[in-house]
């Protein structure tokens, strides 16, 4: 390797490591400083809840009836939306949806529209918290569960990370 190649090589390796450190730091910051919200999941399909080693989750707020809540539609598939949440113990509910910035809302979560039904009156939204990885062989408990709630950390921009699950009233342990 020439001198320039060496410098370029070490610079790229350093950038790769820095990027990974940044990724971990960003996620950890959201986990530690993000606001905790409890979301109700919908019953999973008992035939195929697992694909590989992760559980596919659907939430009550995955389907939004735009006429029943505050909204600034029309919406199209692929739109990034902000969903206003209201913490009604024990779980949070969706009370509004809009495409514009939602900084004036107290609590909101960022999602992407994956489907528009009934002429725009019902939206399907994904929030990036629809997967939960479990160690091999640990999935049976989740498969038999009657009620699963998700504890989610939401940062100031509405990005969410799934922290843990509450399965039939108890915190699910992965180890």
């Amino acid at each position: 390797m020439t001198g320039r190649t060496r410098i370029a090589f070490f610079a790229v390796v350093a950038l790769q490591v820095l990027f990974l450190v940044g990724l971990v730091a960003y996620k950890e910051t959201t986990l530690r400083s993000g606001r905790e919200v409890v979301l109700q999941t919908l019953p999973v399909d008992p035939r195929d809840p697992f694909r590989g080693d992760f559980l596919i989750l659907r939430y009550v707020i995955s389907t939004l009836p735009t006429r029943a809540i505050e909204s600034d539609g029309p919406f199209a598939t692929g739109d990034v939306v902000y969903v206003r949440l209201q913490d009604r113990q024990p779980v949070a509910d969706a009370v509004g949806v809009r495409r514009a910035s939602a900084q004036d809302w107290d609590l909101f979560i960022r999602g992407t529209v994956t489907g528009v039904q009934d002429g725009g009156q019902v939206l399907e939204v994904q929030y990036g918290i629809e997967s939960y990885f479990v160690p091999e062989g640990k999935g049976l408990v989740l498969q038999r569960a009657r009620d699963i709630k998700a504890i989610v950390a939401v940062d100031a921009s509405g990005r969410a990370i799934l922290k843990r699950l509450i399965v039939d009233g108890k915190v699910f342990q992965t180890r």
């Binding site: 390797m1 190649t5 790229v12 790769q16 990724l23 918290i129 997967s131």
Partner: protein, 421 residues
């Protein structure tokens, strides 16, 4: 004070051939004795002796295979045990493993002077970087199919390929790039079905764009190391897309249920087509200006430009008849096959001839089963198909040998015609 030019290593047979040839040139008065000696001083016998080139390739292949296997093993091990490993253990494994692998790659290449093995270890590092991105994402419950993960991997791999001028890492980069585009393209289409046609139309223009960029690297920028992987990857993607376009069902599905294409998809399509066409024109003009425009180059230019038009036609102007599309793209496939063989013959590229003949067999067999499956009894279809394959194999192998022999004879009038098959 000038630095002496390093001597080019050659195997003993090539050195002997060069010595014989320079003697003939001196005897014919083409060069002086001094010039012949000067030519010979530019070369030296390679230390490994006969078979060095083959050994080098073998070492590279084994080392790359080893790197890929180790990379896969690490991904599978950590993937299966990820949640049971403590958090600091996970991060330590990812970061230490990545840095140690790159360090070992650098040490092997730079200090031990074993570039083939060293490159393979660095390739393993690039694979581990991808694994690290996916595993960190998994630790925070982000799904592996998330498009941005592929993009981050790509952004880590491409600068590494360019920093090291490494073909192996570039091949990984091109593969990661295609995977990135694939997952993004899937998220840019919606509407209930008909995704296959837009997907392969995009693949067609992306393939042309890659092949054109590879060609520009070789003809304009003269960066040989990057040209070949780009050209081959482009050709492969383009030919797979064109092959898919020869099936009638592709167009019936598109006409029955058209997918809505988001602006990102259209931007990617137009951008790939535009960059591809502009690069093709730039390469052709550069060849014309340099006085090296060849009939094979012009043929390839016209063929690729026509295929860009074909992709637009298939995606944006539905005719209402699936047969017309399939017919046109079957003719295009036949022309592409003939073009490959012709370009290979004119430019003396055996690989292009072999690829063209291979594609001809695939296309004929596909069309046979496409028709025979509906028209004939299964047993008759298989027997006739088998006989057709045998006859076709015999005829095309004879043709392939004849073309390759002509190429070798043209390049080495006195040499052995059997070489290079």
């Amino acid at each position: 004070m000038t630095t002496p030019t390093p001597r080019q290593p050659l195997d003993e047979q090539s050195i002997a051939l060069l010595q014989r040839e320079t003697s003939v040139w001196v005897a014919r008065g083409l060069v002086t004795q001094e010039q012949a000696a000067a030519i010979l001083t530019g070369y030296e016998a390679a230390p490994a002796g006969p078979g060095h080139w083959l050994q080098g390739r073998l070492i590279t292949a084994l080392a790359v295979l080893g790197a890929v296997l180790v990379g896969l093993g690490v991904i599978l091990f950590i993937g299966a045990n990820w949640q049971t490993i403590p958090k600091f253990g996970k991060l330590a494994m990812v970061f230490v493993g990545l840095v140690a692998t790159y360090g070992a790659g650098f040490w092997t290449t730079d200090r031990l002077r074993m570039p083939n093995v060293g490159t393979a270890v660095i390739l393993l590092g690039a694979l581990l970087f991808g694994a690290a991105v996916f595993l960190v994402a998994q630790a925070y419950h982000v799904r592996a199919g998330t498009p941005s993960l592929f993009l981050w991997w790509l952004l880590g791999v491409l600068p590494l390929a360019y920093a090291l001028r490494s073909r192996a890492v570039l091949v990984l980069g091109v593969g990661t790039g295609l995977a990135t585009l694939g997952v993004y393209a899937a998220s840019w289409m919606h509407g209930g079905g008909g995704f296959v046609l837009p997907f392969f139309a995009l693949a067609m223009v992306v393939g042309i764009c890659l092949a054109a960029l590879g060609s520009a690297k070789r003809r304009i920028v003269a960066t040989e190391w990057a040209a070949q992987p780009l050209q081959w990857a482009g050709a492969l993607v383009l030919l797979v897309a064109l092959y898919m376009f020869t099936f009638r069902f592709l167009f019936s599905e598109a006409l029955a249920r058209e997918a809505a294409l988001r602006w990102q998809f259209l931007l990617a399509f137009h951008l790939s087509a535009g960059v591809g066409l502009a690069t093709l024109i730039a390469v052709w003009l550069s060849d014309v200006r340099a006085g090296r425009a060849s009939s094979s180059g012009s043929l390839a230019f016209v063929g690729l430009a026509a295929l860009v038009g074909g992709a637009y036609w298939a995606l944006f102007t539905p005719l209402g008849s699936e047969v017309s599309y399939a017919l046109v793209f079957n003719v295009a496939m036949a022309v592409a096959i003939l073009g490959l063989v012709l370009v290979g013959y004119l430019d003396g590229k055996a690989a292009a001839v072999n690829l063209g003949i291979g594609l001809a067999v695939l296309d004929i067999v596909t069309r046979y089963f496409d028709l025979a499956w509906r028209l004939l009894d299964r047993s008759v279809a298989f027997i006739m198909g088998g006989l057709l394959l045998l006859a076709l194999g015999f005829a095309l192998e004879r043709l392939r040998r004849r073309v390759l022999t002509t190429i070798v004879e043209r390049e080495q009038p006195d040499g052995a015609a059997g070489a290079g098959r």
